[in-house]
Subunit: 325 residues, 2 copies
């Protein structure tokens, strides 16, 4: 079997790739496990750090129809679609966001549609599909009312995956990820970038800016749980999802103050004092449009789980991302 | 002011055009009424039957970006976007449906986005955006879960109109029309085409096929009320809609049996006997995925209203469409 990962040079794509290579097998279209013979990592920049004969690194434009047509061939049984332009960037550059988050998703689905057998496709979506007047608790049946172009593009992608799945052209599954924290590496242009930065930077002795007040509540998922969920999302039998292909993953509901307290318990007061509190109205507006309370009972019934507490998320970040320095 | 109607050669477009010409004025972008100086009717076929110096008939491809760029200029203050590939046709020809219902809508929005002043844009959507496991009563806050490609494309169009409006590029309003009945003319490829055919054909002494059982409940709107609603949807101040740009219009909830009884009261038993009952599983599947009960309190608060009873709808059809023969 051949597996394609879009956004394969990203941090989540890289972790997923390593997890897939270690695992070595995935459910094929008929549900039986098959060996992963080729793992194609597509991204704008070449994915690095993976020396494995099964890996093909492809640098290219995810919205390039011809490229997608070449990469998605009849050997392709699984696609993990992670490539995206993140929230604040999609808000700042509308055309880029539409091109990557909408056009590329549609072209990828069209490439899958041409295959003899519908591949399994796991796509990531976001809590940014929600907004406006929300019910007290948001669940899989809550109406999508995105308040950003990023959320709009993700919601459209979800509709497309559902329709292509209904038509039998892909076996699609969409996972709405909570904000992934703690991300290693550099800050990105997501409105939620600070949710990693306020932990990551202080742990490395650097200053971090927190653009929202301490009482802001976030809905978080650790990188370990995110990768675990992507693989579980792939392995589920199609019938387990039924006609509703999108699932809100269980997250950890925690305030920024709670995150900083966890950081302090792991790395001491000095670390927590490296956070500078400087409110940013644009980030605040986007983050505050996201829901507060969640009903993720459907995801839990399907076998998904979140993190137990934020302190262990911080400790896992130290173990996974700082130990190797 | 210049007004553009897409689907201007269609039956609803033609009626809307006549109503606009008779009215002579519409609210401009700042809310003050202005005289309609030009009315552009765009459709694949030239719109006929309108001899008025204000009318420009344009036959062309609604998805043609260059054409839209020429038609939507800085004089354009209002757009009525009615052009669509209907439900059964969009299901049978996926690429055509995506091109007209999604790509053309997006290009039209992009043409509006380039204007100096955001025009008012009234777009039609459909109850086909709903489906799957529905709450007992469907309202403006119910999640969109289309079960057809047509419904998917309309739901995507709604998301785009909302986002372009949020960004201040258009002043968009989306009206989810109940099934319009009685449509004059020929049957079309909409799954709901029979909802007009079973009245229209018997009134003209012809046989009609009813593809669903008599107990099937429909949600109907007369052509008169549809045109009235399009104009009201245009005239509403933007703030009246707030961030939720889509409105479920009030319809008349009636069974097919009730429709046939109304036909019999207007035109006698003989007319009703011209209906042949031949179930069509595809039409039945699509129609049965639409909701049964509606909460249209928001639309009523905004001033929209439906028809009082189906018998007067049949009588209005006789008056409007048969008297002129």
């Amino acid at each position: 079997m051949k597996v394609l990962v879009t956004g394969g040079a990203g941090f989540l794509g890289g972790r997923l790739a390593r997890a897939l290579l270690a695992r070595g097998r995935l459910a094929g279209p008929d549900g039986r496990e098959e060996a992963i013979e080729r793992l194609v990592l597509l991204d704008v920049a070449p994915a690095g750090g993976l020396e494995d004969p099964r890996v093909d690194v492809v640098a290219g434009d995810i919205a390039d129809e011809a490229l997608l047509g070449r990469l998605v061939d009849d050997a392709t049984t699984s696609v993990f679609h992670l490539a995206a332009v993140v929230s604040a960037q999609a808000e700042a550059d509308f055309d880029l966001g539409m091109r990557v988050n909408l056009d590329a998703t549609r072209r990828l689905l069209d490439a899958c549609r041409r295959l003899r057998r519908p591949p399994r496709l796991v796509a990531t979506s976001s809590v940014a599909v929600y907004g406006g007047e929300l019910p007290e608790t948001v669940g899989d049946g809550t109406a999508l009312r995105p308040q950003s172009s990023y959320g709009t593009e993700k919601a459209i992608g979800e509709l497309l995956v559902a329709d292509y799945t209904r038509r039998g052209w892909v076996d699609g599954r969409v996972l709405r990820l909570p904000t992934v924290s703690v991300r290693p590496g550099k800050p990105n242009k997501a409105a939620s970038s600070f949710a990693s930065g306020i932990i990551r930077e202080p742990l490395s002795g650097e200053e971090a800016i927190c653009p929202v007040p301490p009482e802001t509540r976030l809905w978080l998922l650790s990188p370990r749980k995110a990768v675990e969920s992507l693989i579980l999302g792939h392995e589920l039998p199609s019938a387990a999802l039924g006609p509703v292909r999108s699932v809100n993953l269980p997250g950890l509901s925690v305030t920024v103050a709670g995150m900083v307290a966890a950081l302090e318990r792991v790395a001491g007061r000095e670390a927590a004092q490296r956070i500078r509190w400087e409110r940013d109205p644009l980030v605040e507006r986007i983050v505050s449009s996201w829901p507060g309370a969640w009903d993720t009972s459907r995801a839990r019934r399907l076998g998904f789980s979140g993190d137990a507490d934020f302190e262990s998320v911080v400790r896992a970040h130290v173990e996974d991302d700082l130990a190797v320095r």
